[in-house]
Symmetry: C2
C-alpha cells in the first residue's frame, strides 16, 4: 500500500491536513475542530505541566470522537553553566523591569517539568497519536509509547534524521522545512546546515524512508498542500494558517495579529527565548539579545530564565 494510503488509513483522515502543535495557539477547541473536520489536531503539550496535559487531552476528548495527537519535546541534556546563567540574568533584568516583574529566576535554574512526568501524563490518557521533535525519544520512552498502542510521529530536518527516526520505529515522519515557524527540530549536525526548504527536503526524505512523510513549513493554503503532496508527502502539517481561527481567538490576540500581519515580513532564527533555535518575527528583544547569543545558556535552561518574562510580555 502506498505510504499516503497507509497514513490516511491509520489516522482516519479525510483531508491531508495535520494541525501543528503550537504552544498556546493549538487550543483543545482548535485541535478538536480540525479532527472533527477530518484532519488531525495536535495538542502542543511540551510546555504544559503534567496536570495541564491531562486536562487538555480530556477537553479534546470531550469535543471529538476522532483521532488526535499529543506533541512533546524529546528530552535533551540539561547543561548548567553558572557563568552563562549569570550573563543571561544580567541581560534579562531590564526586560523584566520593563514588564513590571521584580526578579529574573535565580539559580538553581531547572526546567519547569520533567519529561518522564509529562510522558506519563500523556500515556495515562491513552492518546491515539504521540508526536515529538528535538531528538529521538529515549529508547525506554519509545518503548512505553509503542506499548501504549499510540502511533508515533517524529520530526526530521535532514535525511540522516529521517533514517534514524525510521530505524527507531516511528510510524510517520514530519519533514520540517527551513520555512517552518517556531523551534528547529534538528538533532544531527548544526541547525544552520539543515535549513532545507521543502522543495528540496520532501523528495529526498520521501526517497530515503518507507514510512509516510508529513510536510511542515510555510504551507499556507491549498496551493502549498498540493505542492507538498506532489513532491512526495502524504500530508501537510500546518500551523500559522490556523492562527486566525475562531477556536483560538481568545488566546494571545496581539501575537495572532502580529503573525497574521507578517506574511511578507522578514523572520529570523535565534535562540534567545528557549535557548534552542527557533524561527520568529524580529522584535526589539530578539534583535538586542541575539547580539549576545553565544554567551547565553542552552535549552532548556535559557527557557527557564525567560519564562516569567515571556508570560508577562504576552
Amino acid at each position: 500500500m502506498p505510504a499516503k494510503d497507509r497514513l490516511f488509513g491509520r489516522l482516519a483522515l479525510n483531508h491531508p491536513i495535520i494541525l501543528a502543535p503550537m504552544a498556546n495557539a493549538s487550543t483543545p477547541a482548535l485541535v478538536a475542530a480540525v479532527s472533527n473536520e477530518g484532519g488531525l489536531g495536535s495538542i502542543g503539550a511540551a510546555r504544559l505541566a503534567p496536570d495541564a496535559i491531562t486536562t487538555a487531552i480530556r477537553e479534546v476528548r470531550a469535543k471529538t470522537n476522532r483521532l488526535f495527537a499529543v506533541n512533546l519535546f524529546a528530552p535533551l541534556p540539561v547543561i548548567v553553566d553558572a557563568a552563562k546563567i549569570e550573563t543571561a540574568r544580567r541581560l534579562l533584568e531590564p526586560y523584566y523591569r520593563e514588564v513590571g516583574l521584580d526578579e529574573v529566576p535565580a539559580p538553581p535554574v531547572k526546567p519547569p517539568y520533567c519529561f518522564d512526568d509529562q510522558l506519563s501524563a500523556v500515556l495515562d490518557e491513552k492518546p491515539p497519536v504521540v508526536s515529538f521533535t528535538f531528538n529521538l525519544l529515549p529508547v525506554d520512552a519509545m518503548r512505553r509509547v509503542r506499548a501504549s498502542g499510540a502511533m508515533t510521529i517524529g520530526t526530521a530536518t535532514n535525511v540522516a534524521e529521517a533514517r534514524a527516526l525510521e530505524e527507531a520505529g516511528v510510524d510517520a515522519i514530519v519533514a520540517q522545512g527551513g520555512e517552518a515557524g517556531g523551534h528547529r527540530g534538528t538533532f544531527i549536525g548544526p541547525f544552520e546546515d539543515s535549513l532545507i526548504g521543502l522543495m528540496a527536503l520532501i523528495p529526498v526524505i520521501a526517497g530515503a524512508v518507507r514510512v509516510p512523510v508529513i510536510a511542515a513549513g510555510g504551507i499556507m493554503d491549498g496551493r502549498g498542500i498540493r505542492a507538498a503532496l506532489g513532491l512526495g508527502a502524504s500530508a501537510a502539517q500546518i500551523g500559522t494558517a490556523f492562527l486566525g481561527c475562531p477556536e483560538n481567538s481568545a488566546v494571545n490576540p496581539v501575537y495572532r495579529a502580529n503573525v497574521l500581519d507578517a506574511a511578507d515580513k522578514p523572520t529570523t532564527i535565534v535562540r534567545v527565548y528557549s535557548g534552542r533555535y527557533a524561527r520568529m518575527i524580529r522584535n526589539r528583544y530578539v534583535t538586542e539579545m541575539s547580539a549576545h547569543e553565544a554567551s547565553l545558556p542552552a535549552y532548556p535552561v535559557m527557557g527557564a530564565l525567560t519564562q516569567p518574562f515571556m508570560q508577562a510580555a504576552a
Copy 2:
C-alpha cells in the same frame, strides 16, 4: 493576460524551464541545447572577461536560433580593507602551497573585470535576455539594457527586493529560494533573514508583483516544476539537475560527480570563496576558512584573492 502566458510568449518557451546561469557548468553547448528544446538557456557571464563573454554568446548563437539569456552580477561597492586582506592572504597561503601555487595575489587587489566593460560586451551582441543577481542594476546600466531591446530578469530573495525590482522595470523576477545552490542574491537586509524556502517565497512574491515569477532553488525534476507552478510561479530555473548533461561533461568532472552525489548531503552557506555568501558542499577548506569568516574581506575583494587557488584546485 496571466503572467505565465506573458512569460511564455516573450521567451517563446515550450517548457517552463530556464537553465540556471552556472559559472563553468552552463556551457554554450548546454545553453543552446536547453533553448533548442524549448526552454531558456542562460550563459553565466559574471566571471568571464569581456572577450570571453563575446565568444560565449557567439558560440551559443552558432548552435541555436532561439532565445537565450546572459547573466551578470550587478556591481557592488569595492571595499579595500588592508587588514582583512592581509589576514586572508596569511590564511590562504597554506592552501596555495598545497595546490602548487607560489603566491597569494598581493595588493593592490582588485576585481578581475569591470562591470561596465562586461555589460558593454554583452550588449554589443544584442542578446534577447539579460538577467542579473546580487542587486538592482545601476540606473544607467538598466537604461542601457532596456534601450538595447533586451528583456530583463532580476533576482529576489524576499518581497521587498521583488517590489524594488518591479519598480526598477524588470520584465520578470527570479524568486531564489533558500534551497538554491551557489550565491545568495539578497540585497535588502541580512542574508540570514532571507533564506526563505520556495514553499513560502513563491506565493508571497507572486502575490506582491505583477510581473512573471520564476522559481529557483532545489527543483530537481517534474515534481518540483509542478509544485512551483502550482504555488504561483510561471517557470522554474534549474541548475544542479543539468549538471549531468553530456553538453557539459568535459567541464569539471570532479565537481560534477561531487554535486551529483550530494543530493542528501548537508550543504552550508559561507562566504569563504568570493566573499559573498553562497550555498555549497562542505569540504576541508570551507570548514577551516569559515571559522575566520568575520576577518575576511567582502566580495569582490575576497574573490580576487582566491581565484588562482580555485582554478588550480578545480
